[in-house]
């Protein structure tokens, strides 16, 4: 069973993502901001990370840049999941090391499609 860390400051979004990803056979951990996510990764690197951009304490993009410089931090497949839909922002995320990118709002089909594109399914 693959593990996925769901990082979003919205409890509702985390719950929706968890339900969809559990149906796709992922074991879910949750974090409410980038710093919590980083602490979770230092304890155990997940196979996948679903990552919001705008969060308090530490943003998604700052988390990703830090993660990719950590020991073993290149391993998790990172899928951004954010309302940011500017092409420049998307390119910035890819450059920072994101593997896939979901623009909110999303549904189960989109999550499934993007996780498949990222080679997670």
């Amino acid at each position: 069973m693959k593990s996925c860390l769901v990082v979003d400051d919205s409890r509702v979004i985390r719950k929706v993502a968890r339900r969809i990803l559990e149906d796709l056979d992922f074991e879910i951990e949750e974090a409410a901001d980038g710093l919590e996510a980083l602490q979770a990764c230092r304890k155990a690197m997940p196979d996948a990370i679903l990552l919001d951009w705008q969060m308090p304490v530490m943003s998604g993009i700052d988390f990703l840049r830090t993660l990719r410089n950590e020991q073993g931090g290149e391993r998790p497949v990172v899928v951004f999941c954010t309302t940011e839909n500017d092409v420049e922002r998307i390119s910035e995320a890819i450059k920072a090391g994101a593997d896939e990118y979901i623009m909110k709002p999303f549904d189960g089909d989109i999550l499934h499609s993007k996780f498949a594109e990222a080679g997670l399914i």
């Binding site: 839909n85 500017d86 890819i94 999303f106 989109i110 993007k114």
Partner: protein, 276 residues
Amino acid sequence: MLSDAQFALIARQAKRRIGLALKPERLAVIDARLAPLARREGCACAGELIQATQERCDDLLWDAIVDALVDPSTNFFRDRDAWRALRDHGIANILRGRAANARLRIWSAGCATGQEPFSLAILLDELREEGQGATAEIIATDVSARLIDKASAGIFSQFEVQRGLSVRRMIARFERIGDMWRVNDRVRAAVRFDAHNLLHEPAGMGPFDLVLCRNVLSGMDDEDRKATLERLAGSLAEDGMLMLGAEEDAADVTDAFSRTNETGLFLRNAYWRKAA
């Protein structure tokens, strides 16, 4: 709700006009698909709409009704494995039999809102960038003028553009306009759209190297499916290929095609000749 007699009437028209075999257990779906058209025609429900056709003897209204019943669902690169097989076996196989500078002719038959022909155009563009593709002319048709209108605009919602496309493909081939995404000029220019009914001869369209007709024939009865497959075979080059939906077969009703090792990919039999 539609009565049994009204369903029978719709089913007869759908088969005669576009070869769509409607199943009675899909009555609720038919009802829902006709609701918007009913409202536009000033009718309270699908039942009233069918009543109106009988009072008005309106042939164009029947065209609109049947058009509304066409299933519009599609995705970019629908069935990932099938597209991988198309690239690695289908297109590779066709290119082996062609001169290096040949221009492929491809028909996307039943293209709905256009995701399929644009996926093809993107795939061929990528192959060319890798130095192994050929130029191609892609002709995309659908029986529904409504769907062809939407397809030819090349504009997709944020939901549509995220179903089947990787983010790299999306930002490489699309531009954002507000909340919508439009295919770039190169991809758009690679595809020519036209309305065409698969029950009619594709006169003057062929010969094609490859025909995609995916998840269309499964909506037909065996008689229409066989006749349509043979019309498609007649539009293919002798060594042309046919790509169907992942669950669809061609070799069960006609000897015009042989199965290949790849699901959904069929070879036209060179010996096959259209009955006079």
